[in-house]
Amino acid sequence: MLEVSFNHRFEEFRVELEFQAQAGSITSLFGRSGTGKTSVINMIAGLTKPETGFVKVGDDVLFDSTTGIDVPPEKRRLGYIFQDSRLFPHLNVRNNMLYGAKASSGNAQEITFDRVVDVLDIGALLERKPAKLSGGEKQRVAIGRALLSQPRLLMMDEPLASIDVQLRSEILPFIEELRDTFGLTVIYVSHAIEEVIRLADKMVLLTNGAKAAEGNVEEIMSRLDLHPLTGRFDAGAVLSTKVASYDAEYDLAELAFDGGHLRVTGVDLPMGTALRAHIRARDVSLMLKRPEGTSVLNVFEGRIIEVRDEGGPQLDLKIDIGSPLLARVTRKSYNDLNLAVGKTVFAMVKAVAFDRRSLGGQIITKRPDAI
């Protein structure tokens, strides 16, 4: 387990926070650009020295301002994957990967060169120089290089930020595999909520260098008060689901969650596969009576339990359908339907409002050949 506590004055803001990350899980540091996310992991890595605070991995103290312990970065054994890859331009891919390579620990989850090359699918690139790689390839090599240094923790600073949107889906499964195949603890820094929903077991929400909230993704995403921080456009509930059935004729899957089933298209995964469904509040519409003759496949009955009114033309509602569901309605509809806390409504979610981006794997099925 990683435990950190920092207090450090930077030029633009003060970083003052503490959080924990569980071993073998992905913890996401989430916040807008310039909220101090990179500064936090630089301090964990030992590249920036905090004024006060501590960094502990398990029982190992890496930094403690009260005792004066300050382990240099090269002795911390923390893998760091930078936003810009930072491959060494004078070394080919193989020698980049081997730069920090250490003998593997020899346990069941051991990280060996061949295995990393296989999992990251970079066998064909080994003799190339970094200048001849695409952004996605560079980032995979950077991940492999960090892995081979046998870190006890992997920190990723917006690893997808400099990569084309199309190529991002190429990297995301690898990051899930790091946790699932190698049992690694990952600190994932991001300002893209979809990445966090897809990957994170837990999130730490940052604003101006301080922690606004910490907890599991479902819990934080369902909090109406955090929407200014998690992003207004993408605001919406995140449901933990499992694949319950699949209708091949219509390519329609049913995802079971606490409170019902969510029907979505294009998810042909084994039964029981855990998935997160992100239902954007803007994609949810409300009716007072159970709708009939509708094309909408998902209708959930629930009670309004919270209303957030910021005075604008739109209001956010939280509806208890067994799990919290968020809906965004206009003030006009809100008034016309006499919506209020305690009222029972029917929430409709179009099945086609989902794509693969809205569904994140909590426990992605492992590739048999990678195990």
Binding site: L47, P72, P73, K75, P89, G100, A146
Partner: protein
């Protein structure tokens, strides 16, 4: 055809020897000062930078005079060298190498410093997180990445040493076989009646030498750039 006389060969050999040692002296010192100026921020940074660049802007005769005052047999540093190590550099080819080194030093520092400032310190930070000590980072990351700058520094310092005249003649005089390098030999010939033809031959030799050095450096620079994937 062009067959050099013993007099010419002597001047050529001496020039190459002096330039070689001049580069050898300036390279490690140049690396050190380039690193300090590129990477360290401290009180007096601008002053140090100015002092390093002095030989570039001062008349060479002034540098020669300084060296002579410091390093002559009874000068403050010269006496120390003589008493402790039994060394005497004034009026020897070693002195000529020192004079050339001082004159070439700013060029060496500038070339290395420029390329060092272009090295992304993020790469060095990345190497640290991969378990490399600061020393290993320097020789495995920084040094290869600044190799084009080092090469440029070597060529500039070598060329500057080959052409050194003012500081050399002031400091170590113009002694045949000891301190009479190519430029000094050309100067001597021009002082001699009917020495023009001999001077011209040495001028041609100097041009060939300079051109060869430039071509070799171009070739090496291209190779070095390719190696670091630029």
């Amino acid at each position: 055809m062009f067959s050099p006389t013993p007099f010419e060969l002597e001047a050529l050999y001496l020039s190459l020897k002096v330039a070689f040692w001049s580069v050898l002296i300036t390279l490690p010192l140049g690396l050190l000062f380039a690193w300090i100026l590129a990477r360290k921020r401290f009180y007096g940074h601008a002053l140090l930078n100015g002092i390093v660049h002095l030989p570039l802007v001062l008349p060479p005769v002034v540098i020669g005079f300084f060296l002579l005052s410091l390093l002559k047999r009874h000068g403050p540093v010269g006496a120390f060298l003589h008493d402790v190590f039994g060394l005497s550099v004034a009026f020897t080819w070693q002195g000529a190498a020192i004079a050339s080194a001082v004159m070439a030093f700013p060029l060496m520092v500038r070339a290395i410093r420029l390329s060092m400032e272009n090295v992304d310190t993020g790469l060095e930070a990345a190497a640290r997180t991969l378990g490399a000590s600061p020393f290993r980072v320097f020789y495995s990351i920084t040094l290869p990445l600044i190799s084009p700058g080092i090469l440029a520094g070597i060529i500039l310092a070598f060329a500057r040493s080959l052409g050194e005249f003012g500081a050399t003649i002031t400091f170590v005089s113009n002694i045949p076989g000891e301190t009479r390098t190519l430029p000094l030999a050309i100067f001597s010939l021009l002082q001699t009646p009917s020495g023009d033809a001999g001077a011209l031959r040495l001028v041609v030799l100097s041009i060939i030498l300079a051109l060869a050095a430039l071509l070799i450096s171009e070739y090496l620079a291209v190779r070095a750039k390719r190696r670091i994937g630029g």
